[in-house]
Subunit: 179 residues, 2 copies
């Protein structure tokens, strides 16, 4: 299960095995992990078995915009800058995020290319859940799997509300400017 | 289960009972229903037991922006205009949608006020899945429930990608205009 394959996108990083050794750290930042809202320690211990942990030094690009990907990252320690290329081709900073934030859910779900790049601003510890892990979790631990799916639905939903609101505001500004 | 309560937001419409009587119609438009991708007829028959059907005449506001709501609508026949108030308070048409389109998933998921209003442009038949129905489906038919959750995740995810892309384009245009 922990055997590295050539396809491991984090092969160059320090692999720390599955996430069960880091449950205490995850519990310590639990209130900042939107995805694990309402999860018990027992459920997080279950989840951790399906996640692998890695440590990256500062300045490492842990996700690259446009590259294929089928996994989500949960930041446990450290800091990450999210960048996306603008229409001029220049990378624009979308956000700086820290422990508790999840990254890359969209590609976990649809396997489409990464929407943005993520570069560590400090030594960073993160756990990875890939499509295969999610599928096994749902098959082997349906109750926890359903809970995770529900939380993913909630998370995406809230982002969709926020981004839709921002888009309408932006379009409205554009219209006013044109008048 | 079909007893109308005072809280039924569709009490003024023609209630047609649960959706099992309309499985043939749902199957006929199946290829247009993103949410039911990969569902078998048997699974749709299961789902239909947890959905209620209604018919609305032309010009009826079936969802109202800002009002509380905890259900999703699946359009089976007819046509609906989606409107949202702009910053000037004037309603703006976001889209016109037809059979196969789902409406109101966001409020089904988070119970927050409706993001937009929906007004029928033709006599419209639709099926309703509320939070209670979703919860019972997951508890009683976990396999179908998980499939529906996965499809909801996919749907929200795709919308989030689309809207995020549009927002970045709009912000980029704004920046160019300011320069």
């Amino acid at each position: 299960m922990d055997a590295k394959t050539a396809a491991d996108p984090f092969a160059a990083l320090h692999a720390l095995g599955n996430a069960t050794a880091h449950v205490d750290r995850i519990m310590a930042i639990l209130e900042h992990i939107r995805l694990f809202e309402d999860f018990t320690r027992a459920e997080i211990e279950w989840l951790a078995r399906y996640m692998r942990c890695y440590r990256a030094d500062i300045g490492v690009e842990i996700l690259r915009e446009g590259e294929p990907g089928d996994c989500m990252l949960l930041l446990i320690e450290g800091s990450v800058e999210i960048l996306k290329r603008g229409y001029q081709g220049l990378p624009q900073r979308l956000a700086v995020v820290g422990p508790g934030r999840t990254l890359g859910e969209m590609s976990l779900i649809d396997g489409e290319p990464r929407f943005a790049s993520c570069i560590t601003l400090a030594p960073t510890l993160f756990a990875v859940l890939d499509r295969d892990g999610l599928t096994r979790l749902i098959a082997e631990q349906p109750k926890t799997g359903i809970k995770l799916l529900m939380e993913l639905v909630m998370l995406l939903n809230q982002r969709l509300r926020t981004v839709s609101g921002e888009l309408l505001k932006c379009l409205d500004n554009q219209r006013l400017r044109i008048r």
